[in-house]
């Protein structure tokens, strides 16, 4: 077999056609619809230019807040899931008792349905009878008993906290795999040279798990930009007008009210954001790759 053989380009034809027809074309049609007045109330379709985009970016509407909320959610949950996941991964790769049980417990929320977690946390975070506030009251920490999901100040943070709790175990598991793939020779050599725990982490662990961290970052960013179920179950975008509204809950509501065109315009804006974020991430991730 000739290992250096380069397969002809038309080998990719089948995959390209399928990708084009089932992925690219519907996306393109979706963008096309955002320039029309498509709605559930009329069978007619008219070209309206950038009207829907004007609505999306209008100061009178709160779509910009929704876009900002989505980006804020993505940024904060990505950073915190990575940091907490890394700390947990470092702790749970040490020789400790009942290691797998600890790993299992941290990972467990990731396998539960997001909607069920949302419902459970809605009850746990109830200001009056919720488990969390009841606990604070029972140990004399009344001042920490807050209205978690129903005030403008705390609602979004609470939603993000629950999402981080749910997703951190998954990130931890990926990072554990990354850490365990590092040869112990590096650590032994570093120990002989007198390196302490911090230096071992800084100069061995961190550089060698950077590709794994890049993977978890991509996963988190994609999840964050597309988040829907957690917000839907916990607050449905409230309290108030759009305190915790994110793009996908807004798009869902627009489709619910039959205003398809504005919904597709919002999706198109999301599409553009994703292209920029995706291109940037691919560039950063492939920066240190050796090209043969």
């Amino acid at each position: 077999m000739n290992r250096n053989k380069i397969y002809p380009r038309y080998f990719a034809l089948g995959a390209l056609i399928i990708y084009f027809v089932f992925f690219f074309l519907p996306g393109l049609i979706g963008v096309g619809y955002s320039f029309t007045d498509w709605s559930a109330y009329s069978d007619e379709l008219h070209y309206v230019g950038f009207e829907n985009f004007k609505t999306v970016f209008s100061a009178d509407e709160n779509y910009m807040k929704i876009i900002t909320n989505t980006l804020e959610f993505t940024l904060i949950t990505t950073v915190l899931k990575n940091v907490i996941g890394l700390i947990l991964a470092l702790l749970l790769t040490k020789s400790i008792r009942l290691l797998n049980m600890h790993r299992g417990i941290v990972f467990m929320p990731s396998v539960l349905s997001t909607l069920i977690i949302g419902m459970i946390f809605k009850s746990i975070l109830d200001p009056k009878s919720g488990l969390l506030n009841s606990f604070f009251r029972s140990v004399g920490l009344e001042m920490f008993a807050k209205k978690w999901l129903v005030t403008s100040e705390l609602a979004f943070g609470s939603v993000m906290a629950v999402d981080i709790w749910r997703g951190v175990g998954y990130i931890m598991t990926i990072l554990i795999a990354g850490i365990l793939s590092i040869s112990s020779d590096y650590y032994e050599a570093a120990a002989i040279d007198g390196a302490g725990g911090w230096k071992k982490f800084r100069y061995i662990t961190l550089p060698l798990i950077l590709p794994t961290l890049a993977t978890t970052t991509v996963l988190n960013v994609i999840y964050g930009l597309k988040v829907f179920d957690m917000v839907y179950a916990l607050t449905n975008g409230g309290p108030g007008k759009a305190t915790t509204e994110v793009l996908y809950t807004a798009v869902f509501k627009k489709f619910g009210t039959g205003q398809y065109a504005v919904g597709t315009a919002l999706s198109s804006v999301m599409f553009v954001i994703m292209i920029f974020v995706g291109a940037y991430m691919i560039r950063v991730m492939t920066k240190n790759e050796v090209v043969e």
Partner: protein, 458 residues
Amino acid sequence: MKKKILVTLLSVSMVMGMLAGCTQGGAADTAPAASEPAAAAEEVTEEAAPIEENSDAGDDVTITFMASQDWIQDAEMELGEKFTEETGIKVDYQIVPSDQYESLLMTKINAGECTDIFGGQSSQFSIVTQFDVEKNAVDLSGESWAGNVDPAAAVELSAGGKLYGQPIQDVSACWAVAYNISMFDELGLSIPTNYAEFCDVCEKIKAAGITPIYECVSDGWHHVCWTEAAVAATQADPSYPDKLNNNEATFEGNPELTTMFAQLKEMADKGYMGDNYMSNEYANAPASIASGEYAMVLYNQGLGAEVNAADPDFPVDNIGYFVNPLCDNQALNVNYCGPSRFIFSGSKNIDAAKKYLEFMASDESLAYMTENVGKFNQLPYSNAPSAYSSVVQDFYDRYPNKVAVFQASVKYYNPAWMDIGADMSAMFLDEMTPEEVLKDIDKLRAEQAAAASDPAWQ
């Protein structure tokens, strides 16, 4: 070269095969659905044929019924079991949290993938503009029970002279302030006749260490029921609803409506609704009144039985009612609109769904529902029994002046209900002023009207 051609041909044939496969599947899936409305239409005209003889309703049929929380009562599910025993048709009830229901329902309808039966609010305006019943629901005019529906309720379920829905609830009931009678007696309180007296009552209850009003904003819809005091605006200018419908007037700037929202905000700010009104849930209202922690709640005329069910020591007739006193209103806010059952036109089980509706409208079922659901005093059917208690009858007698609420008299108000709820929630959180809420209602209505190509908004 031959190899290249072969590979290209194979690739193209593979893709074509897949596309053809998808097309065939789609056609197979859609063909029966497309033929259903026609079949349904035939069904109506051939009413003489007994329903039992329909071939598609039987052992292996399961009909799905989606509705908002609180619309499907336990008694209805019990009747559903009886229906299954009698017909072999199973009923899958899909109960959705109320704050999420409207979006989910409209998405399902608009996607053409709704349940066999769906619950929706009746209203002669919104069943056309929102649900587009002429396209999305089955004409029920020819059903045996259709003639029994109260004419006032039937109007709100009809479009183009055809009946499209079946009432679920008692629409004679209205949203009024339900209060604990013995608590009022102990505190020496009497029924308020204007907003100032109502505030006075609240202050005295608060001073006794009791939260005056149980409110539940988290459901997204209940706090909007306070806006039924908008009947005050209709009383001030009886042509106001028509002006709104003809786009000759706006919500913004109306003195009664501005006062109504401002007073509602004031009630929240003064602590009349307690600390947890943003997270309270409607389902907990009876238990909260039974506990004595709260004195009043905006409710329909069946709270007594529900509180009694939550606490058997609490007498059914210990709950009295007075009208929503915002804007000094003293008129009874009547609304013949209410949650109703519609059969989805794209359903593959239209006959089975019709059987279910027929079963629910039978004398026995209506009597069972009236007997077992506290808030059902008089279901809107000529064959339904009446079960008004003396307390409820006294309430209706006290307010002879009846005015239709905005849900029934103003176009594009009902479809905006949940959005208005979100605005009001923002108002409670100081994110919006009452004036901004009113302005937004105008905007929401204009959006709906524009989407519906309403000539008044052109």
